[in-house]
Symmetry: C2
Subunit: 186 residues, 2 copies
């Protein structure tokens, strides 16, 4: 792992704990074991750390849902693959996902605009999949926005909860989550 990767990884953990504004470059440097000035040989600014972490993840989500959307499978199978992708990323990058969810408002300029564009694209793709499912009678005739919101709320919070899941293996987690989200609990 390069020093730059180390900076990004440690930054994600510390920003998750202290918030973007609450983390100082001195604290970050101390956690890595160098002086603050040395960080600037690897990254141009504090803002660039946040932008790189968030935009990289946002691009991953966007390309995945576009890849799923054009497949010739049922809407329910599309939703299943989207859920699985959220589980996989939540397992492997929980800290970076926390930044995507909670620190994006500290992005500036073009980075903030790009993030908003990708977020809107993601929600629009998911909205279309839900509407297709309703048209095919795969999904109930509920408010699309309510279904979209409920799904995304649970998926975007997976990173908070996934480390406390205890003994549930990843595959079983995906199956039960799929059942809870699509078939309900009662």
């Amino acid at each position: 792992m390069t020093r730059k990767d180390e900076i990004l990884q440690v930054s994600a953990r510390l920003i998750r704990e202290k918030g973007y504004v609450g983390l100082s470059m001195r604290d970050l440097a101390k956690a890595i074991g160098v002086k603050a000035a040395s960080l600037y040989n690897h990254i141009p600014s504090k803002q660039a750390i946040l932008a790189e972490i968030i935009l990289h993840l946002a691009e991953d989500f966007t390309s995945q849902i576009q890849h799923v959307a054009i497949k010739s499978i049922s809407s329910l199978d599309k939703l299943k693959q989207i859920i699985e992708h959220h589980v996989d990323l939540s397992l492997h990058h929980p800290n970076k996902l926390a930044l995507l969810n909670n620190e994006w408002m500290h992005l500036e300029g073009q980075s903030l605009a790009d993030f908003k564009t990708m977020r809107n694209q993601y929600e629009e793709q998911l909205r279309q999949i839900i509407n297709q499912g309703k048209a095919n009678n795969e999904l109930k005739a509920l408010h699309t926005e309510l279904v979209l919101f409920s799904l995304l709320s649970t998926l975007r919070n997976l990173n908070v909860w996934i480390k406390k899941r205890g003994s549930i293996p990843a595959e079983q987690l995906k199956n039960e989550l799929h059942q809870v989200l699509l078939n309900g609990i009662s």
Copy 2:
């Protein structure tokens, strides 16, 4: 509305936008129309603003769920009343709820300990209601923690989405949300 109430209300809106650390007392004072030093005639510190907003809401949630838990009604009806309370608070105090969800880690000392205690109590009460529902065959035999997590994820994100709900009246929102969360979407 007293000046102190005005400070709390404006603080909630600005902290939601900029984060607790990102909001300066100068910015807060300017939004209210006074100088920063004048704020300290109404509140003892910046930290006290955050603590008062968050702990007040946490006490509201805790007392409500304890009130519901001891009722002689079905587990499904208990869940319905809990969902309705989240909707009501999300409609009336969206900014303060955002702080409860996203800024609690900036609490310090006894305030932070009290918050964590109340949050654990809330989750434990909800866990018991879910387990009762499973024992009564009102709820499916799914992982309790997964059901708890999914429910709370959606309920705690209501404040983000509720202002975009458009034309859905509050009563209809409660009914559809109840259906989505308990009966599923497919």
